[in-house]
């Protein structure tokens, strides 16, 4: 086992702030939508707007961070081991089979994660941000804007549910959570490297 420093300080700050803000946005947003009542409508709107601005600021910093550190390359999609990763979740995991790809500082995400996170960052978050800004600053929002915002919210809610389960599928059920909290993760160092467990080559990165 080696102790790898996987998630930098800013990355953890960004992740957890985003997590709390998205949770708050989800709760207040669905209250505004009429799904349930928690804060009271007026307060829900105020929290929703404040959290939305905070998240936009955070995203601006995160974008800067991703480009200056080159971390954006983590999300370049690949088909290598994509099928293997899928099969791992469907069968391998029940047999205690090894993870098809190995986590490393250069490749923190498995091929499925790359795809999903790219979709979130390139599609869902922009749709939510743009429709949200239209909602906030253009009077009498069109139905299409409102419906896009609602659809994105459902997508994010489904993502959060899946995400909270899938983080338990690391080396141990809590190892991913611990890594995101402390930045450090104990990764297995097995000498025999069969093809399927080679670390993903980080393209274009030294």
């Amino acid at each position: 086992m080696t102790n790898v420093y996987l998630y930098k300080g800013f990355e953890r700050f960004w992740h957890w702030t985003q997590a709390v803000l998205i949770l708050l946005l989800g709760l207040t947003g669905f209250e505004i939508h009429g799904t349930f009542e928690i804060f009271g409508y007026r307060q829900a709107v105020a929290y929703h707007n404040a959290a939305a601005i905070a998240l936009l600021v955070l995203i601006a910093f995160a974008i800067f961070w991703h480009f200056t550190t080159g971390e954006w390359r983590q999300y370049i999609p690949t088909r290598r081991f994509l099928r293997a990763q899928f099969e791992y979740y469907v069968t391998g995991i029940f047999r205690d089979a090894p993870h098809p790809t190995r986590k490393s500082e250069a490749s923190k995400l498995n091929p499925l994660q790359k795809l999903v996170y790219l979709g979130l960052k390139a599609l869902v978050i922009p749709v939510m941000a743009i429709s949200g800004l239209l909602y906030m600053f253009v009077p009498h929002t069109a139905r299409s804007v409102a419906l896009a915002h609602t659809a994105g919210a459902f997508f994010l809610a489904a993502f959060v549910v899946s995400h909270m389960y899938l983080i338990t599928t690391g080396e141990t059920p809590l190892s991913n959570l611990k890594a995101m909290l402390t930045g450090h993760e104990e990764l297995k160092t097995e000498p025999e490297l069969d093809g399927a467990r080679l670390p993903e080559p980080a393209r274009g990165q030294a």
């Binding site: 700050f13 702030t17 709390v20 009498h140 609602t150 549910v161 899946s162």
Partner: protein, 520 residues
């Protein structure tokens, strides 16, 4: 050191929550403080009329008082004679019809229907003396009734043809004249339609002793404003339009004239004002003190007991049936209905052909979501059933009032045929001899009985999928009220599908883990 990012997360999230909470904390605005200071200074008369030589005498009639008034106020009667209080009509542009003469003289309503041929009864509320028929002289200054508005003794009262009660002490009344008082305006504007709060729903005797819960502006434990504080006037042109008789968006008394266009501390709430009238949120209910008439069915009128007209009252003392008028429905603390309204209206004018749609719209408030001048506005909708000539396809102006039996007035003779004949003849309109009763609706914007801000309509009374106050308004998307069943259905399937799949996966993992452990 490892935990510094997590500490920053906490700081950021608390920041968001604090900012979100501050947004809704409000303090009294400067404007509100200024109002309180301004209205704490009560009006002081600049002239004591009791000291004027011209009023040191007795008056045999209202006309003599008017002459005395004109003796000093040499031009004021001309202003009154140019006003709607006098003319009961004005030239107005009606969108879609052009310039028309319109007013009480030629619009119909679904209460006592109309003035034509009923002048002697109706003119109890005319600012003049002697209107007993269509032949009233609108050009005689002595016919102007100054006292009906300027009495400050609370004793002035008018009878048939608008003549003052002969028992009145006109000398004292004349010596104490001043700015119009609530009770003076209310004498007519509270009792239109033949009783307290019959017509408007938001204008009634209850305002004279209102608490802040009833009306923040007029409350005796509040600002204690009188009508003319908002319905300001210059040269007897008084601000304020009621769309039972008015057509144009001008010279209205508005909330904005004091409060401005964006009086809230919250931006989100201020943005509502582009599409929502102040009254919509700030008048959650009307007819807060006494019942108002919600429906009036003329078709049941005329039933007599032993040849005599009857009146049946409900527990609250309101007539539910009267032989002279038919059946009524009353209600108190009524939630308004809502329409998009841009301040212009059309009316059923005497002699108009009735459109095919039912119920017949006695007045039409123009507006729609797409119209940038329209705002969501609370209305009282009065639903009637009134006499109609199906052959000529026009609403009938019946003769209701008459002094004696045999003159044809329905209130004495209880005969619709002669009442219709007489009324239509006097109105210069054809009558086929056939009549039936047709359902009608009339829209009365609700403007008074503003509640304290804590009692304003809550967000969720409109922004809710269940029984929203705005349920009847179409053509726009409203958060909380509206949704796409398709997206919500698909979304719920996605969220609960993800949850179910995760749980199932977890269970299988646990079972597999247990089996591997057992095998090992």
């Amino acid at each position: 050191m490892r935990m510094i990012p997590l500490f920053l997360v906490t700081v950021a999230v608390f920041g968001v929550l604090i900012i979100g909470s501050i947004q809704n904390k409000s303090s009294r605005t400067d404007a509100a403080r200024e109002f309180k200071a301004r209205f704490a200074r009560k009006h002081v008369k600049s002239v004591d009329h009791a000291k004027l030589p011209a009023l040191q005498r007795t008056f045999a009639s209202g006309r003599e008082v008017t002459e005395a008034c004109i003796g000093c106020h040499t031009e004021r009667h001309k202003e009154v004679m140019a006003s709607s209080h006098w003319n009961w009509s004005r030239q107005d542009y009606i969108p879609g019809r052009g310039v028309r003469t319109i007013g009480k003289r030629n619009v119909l309503n679904n209460f006592c229907i109309g003035v034509s041929d009923n002048q002697e009864g109706c003119s109890r509320c005319h600012a003049g003396y002697g209107m007993d028929s269509a032949n009233f002289d609108f050009n005689d200054p002595k016919n102007v009734d100054c006292l009906v508005c300027h009495d400050n003794t609370d004793s002035y009262a008018k009878g048939l043809a608008g003549m003052p009660d002969p028992k009145l002490d006109l000398k004292t009344i004349a010596q104490k004249v001043g700015r119009p008082q609530k009770s003076g305006c209310g004498a007519c504007h509270f009792s239109g339609g033949g009783g307290n709060n019959v017509k408007h729903g938001d204008l009634e005797q209850g305002l004279l002793t209102a608490t802040r819960e009833v009306d923040v502006h007029m409350a005796s434990d509040g600002a204690d404003l009188d009508c003319v504080a908002c319905h300001t006037a210059e040269n007897h042109r008084i601000r304020g339009r009621m769309y039972s008789v008015s057509s144009l968006n001008r010279e209205r008394a508005t909330c904005e004239q004091c409060h401005g266009g964006a009086p809230h501390q919250s931006d989100v709430v201020n943005r509502h004002t582009a599409k929502v009238a102040c009254q919509t949120c700030h008048i959650p209910r009307y007819a807060k003190v006494n019942e108002t008439k919600m429906a009036w069915d003329w078709s049941t009128a005329g039933k007599l007991r032993n040849g005599e007209p009857i009146e049946d009252k409900d527990a609250a003392g309101n007539p539910v049936y009267a032989s002279i008028k038919g059946s009524f429905v009353w209600a108190r603390n009524v939630k308004p209905e809502y329409v998009f309204f841009n301040g212009t209206a059309d009316h059923y004018l005497l002699g108009d052909q009735v459109p095919a749609a039912r119920p017949v719209q006695v007045n039409v408030l123009h507006g729609s979501y797409d119209d940038p001048d329209s705002k969501i506005t609370p209305v009282k909708v009065h639903r009637g059933k009134q006499i109609y000539d199906p052959v000529n396809n026009i609403l009938v102006q019946p003769k209701l009032y008459s002094r004696a039996k045999g003159d044809g007035g329905f209130w004495k003779d209880f005969n619709w045929k002669t009442a219709a004949e007489e009324g239509m003849k006097a109105s210069g309109l054809p009558y086929s001899g056939r009549y039936e009763f047709v359902a009608t609706e009339m829209y009365w914007p609700v403007n008074h009985m503003v509640s304290p801000k804590e009692k304003s309509v809550d967000c969720v009374e409109c922004h809710t999928p269940n029984d929203s106050r705005m349920a009847g308004l179409k053509g726009f998307y409203m958060p909380g009220r509206d949704r796409s069943g398709f997206i919500d259905g698909l979304g719920a399937m996605a969220v609960f599908g993800a949850l179910a799949a995760s749980l199932a996966h977890a269970v299988i993992r646990l079972l597999a883990f247990g089996r591997r452990k057992a095998e090992a």
